[in-house]
Amino acid sequence: MSPTMRRYVRYALVLLLSVSLILFTQEIKLLKNPDSTPITSMTFVGLGILWLFSFIGVIIADLMKLVPIKVIRDFPILGWVSIASLTMCLVSDFFVEAIQSVDFLAITTPILTVAGISVANRLVDLRKTSWKVAIVAVFVFAGTYLCSALLAQLGLFLAEN
């Protein structure tokens, strides 16, 4: 197997791990609360589609590395995945329906679990910086909300006059 091929196989397996964890999470959610998003055959189709769109995004991101425009080369994989998914979802409602049968919060829990493990060896560093970042965080959150509210207020005022 060529190194490129091997890399893609590894990405495909990690993505498979990711969607499997989502399924597991949704199952546990159902055990806890039988009224949450049910697992149907559409859920499996939805997970398969999420896997496929993610993989397409990875391939697009790799292909775009060949483009001689810096902003396109630097555009993150996650952006390509969203674009690929939005395009496909506009083409067919079937994709939307299938993806929506995957519980949204069930997608988030596995990500945060892996994120928690990935920071394991940096906890000490984190303790060093986080009080400053905590102060900054207040201004960062306030900043985005306040600026958006000001622009929205102005926009609505202009729209109605």
Partner: protein
Amino acid sequence: MVKNFVYFLVFVLAVIAAAELIGIQTISIGSMTISMLPLVFAIAIAMILALPFLRKGILKKIYSKKNVDFASKYLIFIMLPLMARYGSDVAPQIREILQVGWVFIIQEIGNLGTVLIGLPIAILIGLRREAIGATLGIGREGELAYISEKYTLESPEGRGVISLYVIGTLFGTMFFSIFAPILLDFGFRVEALAMASGVGSGSMMSASSATLVARVPEMESTILAYASASQLLTSFIGTFTMVFLAAPLQQFMYKFLVRGDKK
């Protein structure tokens, strides 16, 4: 190698199961309601068990260098299905979004407030490269993935974004459920605040819009519609705002603000 990974996998499943069984916890402080989602418990459990003094026996095997490296190297790929999910949230509403149009789009530019207000404060209190990660955005998955791709999470920028991510995860919803009604008292229109609620985090958006509904119940449907439409827009074009506006603005302001530093 394989055995190592089995420990990792079983541990991930156990943490997910524990977090989901704890479920959504609501704490009421006076008239304020704070909701904690399973994702908060998931990251908290995974981080607490990683504390150095706990790393003995099985935990030492789980948090082996290989496993931790695997988690940080492939975190982006674990996140990709979430990015794919956003496409399906935007697509069915694209027509409505286009109709309400430009007001939604200009208020997206307000997301640069993280850089405009956050960066000078960060530099003032002595942060340097960490500030890049901590003020690029509100430190959700998008910024995390962008910083991790551009600088890696081991870099100072990476530490900044992770700190903000953790703080946001733990306290973000609490912050917005307090801040939104304060601005209402300052005379902002509830529609404007509803639009601003789409900051790019589902839980923060729900916290902010839910408190607005509690304050102005007769506007409930408008608030929820505006908040979720704005959220959909942010979850999609937020990446563009970040890459093409926030990041260049941040680089420019950063160079300007730290020009007095000794080499």
